[in-house]
């Protein structure tokens, strides 16, 4: 579907040329050099990707291009030429014209570019009429056409709606329609799919790629996700601490990164096309980006760099190291390769073995990821990989059948049967009947002692609700929850309270999950006191220090407040709070999805280590399938409040039985440009139906290509099709 690589032709005249751009924030604390000497060009019809962790200057670069910055930000020097004209010298009226008709921008949160109180029609038509090229009737007709082109099913109705009446994915389509309404020469997309589900993300990326091809619109795509960049962009810039540290073709940068930071980014993410059992730990570089107020004088990456040499105390320049490939690193400029970090001072050196395998799955001839995973032959785990990475008893035979194995985790710790939770919506009128969101609708789930169960599904499918029911933050309408033999589904709060010692939770949002008015010590001492685990001040202080030590934070940081920590550190505090009571079971609701990839790898490694050391059992909720496969023993796929499929992780990804699972797996982008380009994608159209009135019979039938009349009449039961592999589909495995 994405056969021809967009914009991958001979060099074209540049639409945008940026040279030595410097944008700074003049804050109370000092000058922040957010963008510090960035240069690049974008050819006509080209798609350029910019990657880097949050705070590396990606968004400020994008905003500088359109001069959208507000005080205290200032562009202090540099040049921006758009179609040969100097953007920094433009008058306000020239800028207005540029922003509407020359360059357009879409954001991560489409609500920031849509006015919530105006109908879509007003906003879209005004944008078109503002530049005088269309009359009102013409503009409206074009608006409807554009919305249809962006994949909105009933554009005539959509154009008369308000932004809040759309889902996130639909809003992004509307924002794209607005951006494209004057056929700009350049579209800047700043993390356009970060807030979306994989299935919707795949749709939006497909759309961007079509716009790029059909209209010849040049695209600057900003993302922290290398997979997203891989499919769409021909060239990639990697940014770190306000500088470009590497630039090159997507293939080159993703498969053979020449800067240690890009190398770390590429290796920090678990990938669906690699065997996760080869080594459980990910390559996580320790530390955090430098304080923007006082960057190190030499190479800015030096404090975290495993390849550091003496010369790195001088600041390196961005230099050509191969055709069209530039790097800002003394080591690679000297011709060295980054393949073998064996001597590197990484906390996770055994990963080195895996880096060598990097191109294993990407041999020519292997088409899509689904085919690829299927055709992968059974492979014994290497002894070294197992010694380090697979501490738990794992079956040595990785074939799909795996019959005759002993179940590795005999005793169930948690057994959920027929769990139901419907939330009442506010009534629309006094005499209207109550309407209910069928958030969780008859879910069965077993978690055995010591295992990790992954829970995946699109947003709104009930993952978080299920977690909150198990922890009895919400009370289920019906069903049973057996935790260590205790029935807690309807138990009174007082009965559950002592059990909470064994059952803890880690939350998604590292900012919202800690009370900002309490110090770290106060946060950690609360659970200790409640359960009488420490009473005297000395005991508490000792235990708090110990907990901070366990999650690798400074044991002396107890007196500090949460806002003094970064997102990743806050998530560590959150984990320490859960560990305070020495639980046996931890439910983690998307614990890493708000974090940068490198921090994700750090937290995943931490959770894996804690599991080994403390014998924890996890229920791990995530929407990132690669992460789930990486960490889980078994995976549960949820769709609209019901379980669609349950299977051991390897079986689920190797041979999914439910059509929905196959679509989910296919939607995950793979951070390798050559694989991504060859890949045959299964596209799941549309969005999940409303959970207020779920479809009769099989809930997936409205989007299922296999749907037959029976699917609308009889809800399929969750049946065991292979050993330990359950699916709820009348035609399981026939897709």
């Amino acid at each position: 579907m994405r056969a021809a690589a967009p914009g991958r032709t001979a060099p074209t005249p540049a639409v945008l040329a940026v040279s030595d751009l410097r944008t700074q924030f003049f804050t109370d604390a000092g000058v922040v050099r957010a963008v510090d000497g960035v240069s690049f060009t974008v050819g006509a019809g080209e798609a350029l990707g910019i990657v880097g962790e949050s705070g590396s200057g990606k968004s400020v670069t994008a905003q500088s291009l359109m001069r959208l910055l507000e005080e205290p930000a200032r562009i202090v020097s540099g040049r921006i030429h758009f179609q040969g004209r100097d953007v920094l010298a433009m008058t306000p009226s020239e800028l207005r014209k540029l922003r509407g008709a020359g360059m357009a921008m879409v954001f991560q949160d489409p609500m920031t570019s849509l006015n919530p109180v105006l109908r879509i029609a007003r906003q879209l038509v005004e944008t078109m009429m503002a530049h005088g090229s269309f009359g009102e009737g013409e503009a409206t007709r074009r608006g409807v056409k554009l919305l249809g082109r962006m994949g909105i099913t009933t554009p005539e109705r959509a154009i008369n709606s308000y932004p809040h009446q759309f889902s996130g994915g639909m809003r992004q389509r509307v924002a794209l329609a607005m951006g494209m309404s004057n056929e700009p020469a350049l579209l800047i997309a700043d993390e356009p799919t970060t807030a979306l589900d994989v299935t919707i993300q795949a749709q939006i990326l497909e759309l961007l790629s079509e716009l790029n091809r059909e209209f010849g619109t040049a695209i600057v795509l900003i993302s922290h996700d290398l997979g997203v960049i891989a499919g769409l962009c021909s060239r990639v810039l990697v940014m770190y601490a306000g500088e470009v540290v590497e630039e090159g073709s997507a293939e080159a940068v993703l498969s053979d990164p020449k800067h240690p930071y890009s190398w770390a980014l590429v290796n920090a993410v678990p990938r669906l096309d690699r065997d996760p059992t080869a080594g459980k730990r990910l390559t996580a570089i320790e530390g955090a980006p430098p304080d923007p107020l006082s960057e190190p004088p030499g190479c800015r990456f030096a404090p975290r760099c495993p390849f550091r040499i003496e010369r790195c105390s001088d600041h390196p320049e961005l230099l050509e190291i191969g055709p069209g490939h530039k790097s800002r690193c003394w080591v690679t400029q000297a011709g060295a390769s980054l393949e073998l970090p064996a001597t590197a001072p990484l906390s996770t050196s055994p990963v080195a073995g895996e880096v060598g395998l990097a191109t294993e799955g990407s041999e020519p001839g292997e088409g899509g990821i689904v085919a690829l995973v299927r055709s992968s032959p059974p492979r014994p785990i290497s002894p070294s990989g197992r010694a380090f990475g697979a501490p738990k008893e794992r079956p040595t035979d990785l074939s799909h059948e795996g019959r005759g194995e002993e179940p590795p985790f005999p005793t169930p710790l948690l057994e959920v049967r027929g769990l139901v939770k419907h939330f009442a919506l506010p009534k629309r009128g006094f005499f209207e009947p109550h309407r209910y969101v069928h958030a969780v609708d008859g879910v069965d789930l077993t978690v055995k002692r010591g295992e990790t169960v992954g829970l995946v599904g699109e947003s709104g499918c009930g993952k978080s609700t299920l977690a909150r029911l198990i922890l009895r933050i919400h009370r289920p309408d019906s069903g049973s929850i057996l935790f260590e033999g205790n029935e807690i589904a309807q138990a009174l709060p007082g009965t559950i309270r002592p059990l909470r010692r064994h059952l803890q939770m880690v939350f998604q949002d590292p900012y919202a999950s800690l009370n900002s008015r309490m110090t770290v010590e106060q946060i950690l001492d609360e659970p200790l006191r409640v359960h009488g685990l420490a009473t005297t001040a000395a005991e508490i202080r000792e235990r708090v220090a110990e907990l901070l030590e366990i999650v690798r934070l400074d044991p002396k940081s107890g007196a500090r407040f949460p806002h003094e920590f970064s997102g990743g550190q806050r998530q560590r505090i959150s984990i320490a709070r859960a560990l305070a009571v020495k639980p046996s079971f931890i439910v983690a609701d998307e614990p890493i999805s708000a974090l940068d990839v490198n921090i994700q790898a750090q937290i995943l490694n931490l959770m894996l280590r804690l599991q080994e050391e403390l014998g924890l059992t996890y229920l791990f909720i995530a929407h990132d399938l690669a992460v789930v496969r990486h960490i889980s023993d078994r995976v549960v796929v949820l769709y609209l409040g019901k379980v669609a499929e349950v299977a051991p992780a390897k079986d689920l990804f190797a041979a999914p039985l439910h059509p929905y699972t196959r679509y989910l797996i296919s939607a995950v982008p793979i951070p390798d440009a050559s694989i991504e380009r060859r890949r045959e994608r299964l596209r799941l159209a549309g969005e999940p139906p409303s959970a207020v009135a779920p479809p009769s019979g099989c809930r997936f039938r409205t989007r299922c290509p296999l749907a037959q009349p029976i699917c609308a009449e009889t809800p399929p039961l969750l049946a065991e099709h292979r050993l330990g592999h359950f699916a709820a589909c009348h035609f399981a495995g026939q897709f």
Binding site: F26, D28, R67, L68, L69, E70, E71, P72, A73, R74, I75, L88, P92, L95, R96, R99, G100, M105, F107, T112, S113, L114, N115, Q123, T127, R468, L471, I473, P493, R497, P498, R500, R501, L503, Q504, M505, F507, Q508, D509, A512, S513, L514, N515, S516, R517, M518, E526, P527, V530, H531, S574, R577, V581
Partner: protein, 293 residues
């Protein structure tokens, strides 16, 4: 705001860079003025016997309706009482009633609204419908009706005002607690095993007070002007108690003797402005987004 809305976009390239002091002044300068006004009135309320040699009720009919002079700085009223002295003493009752009404109203409203949001269910339904009921009357008219029914007097007027005052705090507290209780850190407190009372006291209330403090500050001026209004209409204080609203009422017909009504009018104005300025500053200070600017 659309991204292409030029109005909101400064042309950052040419914008001047402000110093720290300039930014502080821009952010809190008005609030500092407000705070100074309030402080001055407080000092006056406490120290008024030392600031004037006249008593507020010292009648001297021979000196009635004298214009401002060296002896009577703000003139005298119909009974020959010194307007300046009455103005100073009047600050006591204004500040007192303002604080009593707002603090008691806020305390009761917050408690009721917060509890409603925390308990949910029928109790919440009942309490919130009750607040709706009170809020659908124009406040001053409802207070007027209740005060008239209870009879003239400071206490009765305060009671009447309290009846109309608590619902807005109940509304605000209700929505604040609703927002907080679904925050992840509150869920974390439940998961840890804290009891509801502790969750409310330790987690929800400290995070919900900010907007309540803002409303209290802004509302003090409001309460003072309402009380003055009721006194102006003949409710409120019993004569001869010095009170700004009733002083304005006494001077209402005296077009020639403007000083009788004008000065207490200015006094009301300054207090109300002072609290509004201060409230805006408190809001900026509590809002981290506005603070960064």
């Amino acid at each position: 705001m659309t991204a292409f809305d030029q109005g909101s976009v400064t042309l950052a390239t040419f914008a001047p860079v402000r110093s720290k002091g300039q930014r502080w002044r821009r952010r809190y300068g008005v609030a500092a003025i407000g705070a100074t006004i309030i402080l001055v009135w407080f000092v006056i309320a406490l120290a008024c016997p030392y600031l004037t040699r006249y008593g507020p009720d010292a009648v001297d009919v021979s000196l009635r309706l004298r214009p401002p002079s060296a002896a009577h700085w703000l003139g005298t009223d119909e009974l020959g009482r010194d307007v300046f002295a009455r103005l100073l003493y009047g600050s006591r009752i204004s500040l007192f009633t303002g604080f009593v009404v707002v603090l008691l109203g806020a305390a009761f409203g917050t408690l009721v609204g917060g509890a409603a949001a925390f308990m949910r269910g029928r109790a919440e339904e009942l309490i919130m419908r009750l607040t709706d009921l009170v809020l659908c009357f124009p406040p001053i008219i409802l207070a007027l009706a209740i005060a008239a029914a209870l009879g003239i007097g400071t206490t009765n007027t305060i009671i009447a005002m309290l009846v109309v005052w608590w619902p807005k705090f109940a509304r605000l507290a209700h929505s604040l607690v609703l927002v907080q209780r679904s925050q992840e850190y509150v869920e974390a407190a439940v998961v840890i095993g804290l009891k509801p009372a502790r969750i409310l006291a330790r987690h929800i209330i400290p995070n919900a007070v900010g907007p309540l403090i803002v409303l209290v500050t802004l509302d003090l001026g409001n309460a003072i002007i309402t009380f003055a209004g009721l006194s102006f209409l003949g409710l409120g204080v019993v004569p001869p108690t010095p009170e700004w609203g009733s002083m304005v009422a006494e001077g209402r017909e005296l077009v020639e003797q403007w000083w009788v009504a004008a000065f207490p009018g200015f006094a009301i104005l300054s207090v109300v402005l002072g609290f509004n300025f201060l409230g805006d500053g408190v809001r900026d200070w509590l809002d981290p987004k506005a603070r960064q600017r």
